[in-house]
Symmetry: C2
């Protein structure tokens, strides 16, 4: 028969005529409990299926053995892979990973950060949608030593832990590859102008053009907020006025929206225009015509982020040594 109510230490202590503290120590295999008593307690506990109440434990220990990760959208393969890398490391060290998504809403993001702090997560992995100063505000206001590692989109200052891929290099290579294919009028579909990844990818794109002796035309650079409508509007405008011969899309979603819009163009443009974009979608290589992909080492990024975070959690008394890791991305699905 199944008990109606989870069994707790005092249930065991009553049943065995022992004190609660003795039971607790016996279950934790303390040296100050007799071997025989330990066996008694442990066998009884497993018989009645005792499981310590993690809330009570957390309150006492002031840690929760879980870390939180906040991402814009879990369905985005890039972030899903990051989460998998994080789980891989965290689970090995006995930590659980709690996933939150912001759907690119600043309000949600702030609420989640506050909640994570109030629930006393042991650490936080964050790729902020929100602008930097606002994130700083929130971080201050929670008034706690909540260890944070930023990934993908990171603050510019150096007093925090950061894990990114080499966006500049990746954008440089992608753009250079398009140039090698004979393209000269390369449009850049960029993300929001404020955030780190947009800035670095734009820089790489510009550098590649200049390196090839092509001047950077601001008209060919379009910012948008990961929304299909904005990408489509930008693309229509570009097509009407400038007819680029290639597109470089700066993120997963932008890549697909851009690809879709190009495919809807009348021939021969639909098949002539080349597209290269950041994406970790596992099925991107199935598209015809091809979508050339800059693939980030997302799983690895997740692993490293989690390792950095867990390090600062366990060595929290030591002086902090801020880390900044930058990993290479690779260009795939070229011909």
């Amino acid at each position: 028969m199944d008990q109606e109510r989870p069994v707790k230490l005092s249930d065991i202590s009553k049943a065995l005529n022992l004190s609660v503290s003795t039971v607790s120590r016996a279950l934790n295999d303390s040296h100050e409990i007799g071997e025989e008593t330990k066996r008694m307690v442990q066998s009884y506990a497993s018989k009645v299926n005792y499981r310590p109440n993690l809330i009570a434990q957390s309150l006492k220990e002031m840690n929760t053995r879980y870390i939180a990760i906040i991402v814009p959208e879990i369905s985005n393969s890039f972030f899903a892979e990051i989460v998998n890398g994080v789980e891989f490391v965290a689970n090995n060290q006995g930590y659980h990973v709690v996933i939150y998504q912001t759907h690119d809403s600043t309000e949600r993001e702030i609420n989640i950060i506050r909640d994570v702090a109030r629930r006393k997560a042991d650490g936080l992995l964050l790729s902020p949608s929100t602008n930097q100063t606002e994130v700083n505000e929130v971080m201050k206001s929670i008034g706690a030593k909540l260890p944070v590692v930023y990934f993908d989109r990171v603050p510019s200052d150096n007093y925090c832990h950061k894990v990114v891929c080499d966006n500049y290099q990746a954008a440089f290579e992608a753009t250079s590859w398009l140039i090698q294919q004979g393209k000269r009028r390369i449009a850049h579909m960029a993300g929001p102008s404020g955030i780190s990844i947009s800035i670095e990818r734009l820089a790489g794109y510009s550098a590649a053009l200049l390196h090839a002796g092509i001047s950077v035309d601001p008209n060919l650079i379009r910012y948008s907020n990961f929304l299909a409508r904005e990408v489509w509007d930008n693309l229509r405008d570009l097509e009407e006025k400038y007819q680029p011969d290639a597109y470089f899309a700066s993120s997963d979603r932008l890549s697909f929206y851009c690809y879709e819009a190009v495919q809807r163009l009348p021939e021969p443009r639909a098949s002539e225009v080349k597209i290269v974009g950041f994406t970790n979608a596992p099925f991107a290589h199935l598209l015809r015509p091809k979508l050339s992909a800059i693939v980030q080492p997302a799983f690895e990024m997740g692993k490293i982020s989690a390792e950095m975070l867990l390090n600062t959690i366990t060595k929290k008394n030591k002086d902090i040594e801020y880390g900044f890791i930058k990993l290479p991305a690779v260009l795939k699905n070229t011909e």
Copy 2:
């Protein structure tokens, strides 16, 4: 200056020369606290950025105001949409949603369920990878009144809450459409044979064939565990021996693995073989040749699941009335 340590009730009570209980009541707007005192306390609390410790609250209240959802893989668009539906409802009612993934591992699934119980989540949404009797075992052993709603993959018994899409109908329509297209040798790439969705989809497939006067050939039915390798092996074998003229794939991942394998076949088969499969991938419609898609109302399923769960959580004293909701799926991307 930011405080080093989160401020707690006793900090406020000392600063204001009040008792902790008075402070607590003042912050909770209790009627037995004077208006002036309330204002004092509230303004001071917000000045020092007081946030109640949710762990302590949970321990006292014996609820946590969050629900857990366990899915095989968050990168799977179907499950990601479900999660979004769940969040939509839960957040509106003041609940947080904690997402876990099993990666189709029974061991992970069981560990997660145990952990969810120990952390005293107020409820659980579950699409079990694990076989039914084993799940029942675990549910018994946690010895708690943890409300559960099953979705997608559900147990066969009627003493639980369930939300699914009409798999039989969807499979019937998909298969019938292939028959209308003139296909007769339709292979079925099915999921693991034990679980509800596989059984129902197979039934719909078979019924459609019989309805059209085509006999069901067991050789054309292949089970697999959502692994690319298995799908590819099955497909190679089918191609060598039976040369089906169409494939019906029974899940998101199976659809893409199957599509990919077919595209690698030598022409003219690659473009002649028609494929229809379950998928909620947002970019499935970009594929050429087409992948016809059975799209499940995932967001809706998530919403309904969450509503059912929150109902049983808040009305837990009332007698339980088990619900079983079945929603229609639609066939898209046909010509």
